[in-house]
């Protein structure tokens, strides 16, 4: 819209207001994050008198202790295992279903598709108690799969919709030509559809990964053993143990959100596209 401006606005009050407004919002967002990062470098005593400023005395020990503890790495590993399982299964199961819905006409196809999209209408929390009983009866309680499978099931609706829309845009002539040449549907899916769909697979994978990595309620209900806890559960336990030793808790928080922030900085485009793409379809 700025290119509509014929003459560049001189330094006026509107610009000043805008700058001030952006500065206030930036401070609102940044201060809690920076205070957390810096708080991890302080001693408890200093935190009490100086929660905002730079540490007068940098306590590297807080961070080092956590980084050299088995606990921290175990939490990250558990989260990584659950998220990877969830993303892989979601991509495989959802892309197969989306391919069928996109390219094969059969009686009841639109009905089945709307059946799957029912999943968009309500959160997992509404049925979490029966879900717990189901997972228990299947013998999956306290396993990675007990968390991953319900997460896959709840991410299917959105994933199938996004993938199907993309698959449908692959030129129909391509499928026709391939079939005439004796290529089967399954080979077409494997060697044409999937390679052409990398962007949307990345998008769906990112949404699923972020959701699974940050998930709290499902693991909380399905896991009982500390050794299996993903980091959101682990950090709550940690906070319970060190209740008011805030310098340690802040260091722990910083180190657990660090992977997310690094991933975000590396893959900004995919993450923003992914998290807002889900929105567009709604």
């Amino acid at each position: 819209m700025s290119n509509v401006e014929t003459t560049p606005a001189p330094f006026d009050s509107a610009v000043l207001f805008k700058a001030a407004f952006l500065a206030v919002v930036s401070i609102f967002v940044l201060v809690p994050l920076l205070a957390t990062l810096l708080g991890g470098f302080k001693s408890l005593g200093e935190l009490r008198v100086n929660p905002f400023g730079l540490p007068r005395h940098w306590e590297w020990q807080n961070y080092a202790d956590i980084l050299f503890s088995a606990r921290y790495w175990q939490l990250l590993r558990n989260s990584l295992v659950i998220s990877t399982l969830t993303v892989t299964l979601t991509l495989v199961v959802a892309s197969m279903a989306a391919f069928t819905f996109a390219h094969i006409k059969f009686y009841g196809s639109s009905m089945l598709l709307s059946y799957l999209t029912l999943g968009l209408l309500f959160p997992a929390a509404t049925a979490v108690l029966p879900l717990f009983i189901k997972v228990r009866d299947l013998g999956l309680l306290d396993t990675y799969f007990g968390v991953a499978l319900p997460q896959v099931a709840f991410s299917l609706a959105m994933s199938v919709l996004l993938l199907r829309r993309f698959f449908k845009d692959i030129p129909y002539e391509l499928l026709e030509a391939a079939l005439v040449d004796g290529c089967s549907y399954i080979k077409f899916f494997r060697y044409v559809t999937l390679p052409l769909s990398r962007p949307i697979l990345a998008t769906v994978g990112t949404i699923t990964f972020v959701n699974s990595w940050n998930a709290y309620l499902l693991p909380l209900v399905m896991l009982n053993t500390d050794a299996l806890y993903p980091w959101p559960l682990g950090i709550m336990v940690y906070q319970g143990e060190y209740s008011s030793e805030w310098h340690l808790i802040l260091a722990f928080i910083t180190l657990t959100i660090l992977p997310t922030i690094i991933l975000f900085l590396l893959a900004q485009k995919h993450i923003v596209a992914g998290l807002t793409a889900g929105a567009v379809k709604g």
Partner: protein, 311 residues
């Protein structure tokens, strides 16, 4: 869409051909159908649809989750829920979250989007900064703010002390706990809504805006009469997400207050967790779940029918 229309007659003709001519191809499609569809349908039915149905069934029992449910009590669980003061508090809190989302978060997000959709140095960095809280886990966000609000060590406390006042324990008071949660909700989610608006602003038809400017409309007139109306679909979408998000808010509340003190900051889901799940009162918890389900589905369907018909 046009591609499908172009393609479908060929498909139709093909399927009319005798099977002998194109048998393998039909077989191929059948194979895909029986191999590719069932995994999704089975997972979805098993872990999404059945539990919802079972919630309705279990909600008619007084059951602790062990053995089979036998103690049939009809609709009593629903009556118990509706008689609980905490339920109505939770409902009110969800209403408050929605109100704050609409009255504060949405205008904030829209204003920022209008500022940051223009290209200037630093615009990109600011967009990313404002979006960052959205990708942080709600648990981590909640913990960060429980530090911010902490009456002994927190940021708020230190500001209060600087003015010589006794620091408040915001999260520990029934008067302020929900206010504290609401501020975190805005902090966490305004960036997401801002990104929605930025994406919409960037795909707007620029010629309409240029035409308005050429016709002599001022910047604010263009904004009010051209840009904002063009954003209505996105605004409706943003409102939809704010309401749906409020109805499932849970992770953020747990590290902050666990719904307390005295249920003053429960949301529907944290109420469900505290009263049904953590005590394994399956029947009672399922009744809460069913009520939440009905609210969500009714809202989603009504909203889409009334406000999002054109999309």
């Amino acid at each position: 869409m046009s591609r499908r229309i172009a393609g479908s007659p060929a498909m139709g003709v093909a399927s009319l051909l005798p099977l002998a001519v194109r048998g393998p191809r039909w077989d191929g499609r059948f194979t895909v159908l029986i191999l590719f569809l069932p995994p999704a349908l089975v997972l979805f039915t098993l872990f999404v649809v059945l539990p919802v149905g079972e919630a309705a069934w279990y909600s008619a029992f007084n059951w602790n989750g062990f053995g089979r449910p036998t103690n049939w009590i009809g609709f009593d669980n629903y009556l118990f829920v509706l008689e609980t003061r905490a339920f109505w508090l939770a409902l009110r809190n969800n209403g408050l979250i929605i109100a704050v989302s609409l009255a504060i978060q949405l205008p904030l997000a829209l204003t920022l989007a209008l500022m940051l959709a223009e290209r200037f140095r630093g615009a990109m960095a600011l967009r990313m900064l404002f979006f960052m809280p959205y990708i942080l886990a709600e648990i981590a966000t909640g913990l960060i703010f429980s530090f911010v609000y902490d009456g002994d060590y927190g940021l708020v406390a230190s500001v209060w002390r600087a003015f010589g006042a006794e620091p408040p324990h915001l999260l520990a008071s029934t008067d302020t706990s929900m206010l504290a949660v609401l501020i975190v909700v805005v902090w966490k989610y305004f960036g997401f809504h801002m990104m929605l608006f930025i994406a919409a602003l960037q795909s707007l038809d620029k010629t309409l805006i240029e035409a308005a400017r050429i016709d002599g409309a001022t910047r604010s007139q263009t904004l009010r009469h051209v840009v904002i109306p063009l954003l209505y679909p996105t605004i409706r979408l943003s409102v939809f997400f704010a309401i749906v998000g409020s109805l499932q808010l849970f992770d953020l509340v747990m590290p902050l207050t666990r719904g307390g003190p005295a249920d003053s900051s429960n949301t529907m889901v944290s109420f469900l967790y505290n009263n049904g799940i953590s005590r394994m009162r399956v029947g009672y918890g399922s009744a809460i779940g069913v009520i939440l389900f009905v609210i969500c589905v009714t809202f989603a369907i009504t909203y889409k029918r009334w406000f999002m018909r054109d999309e």
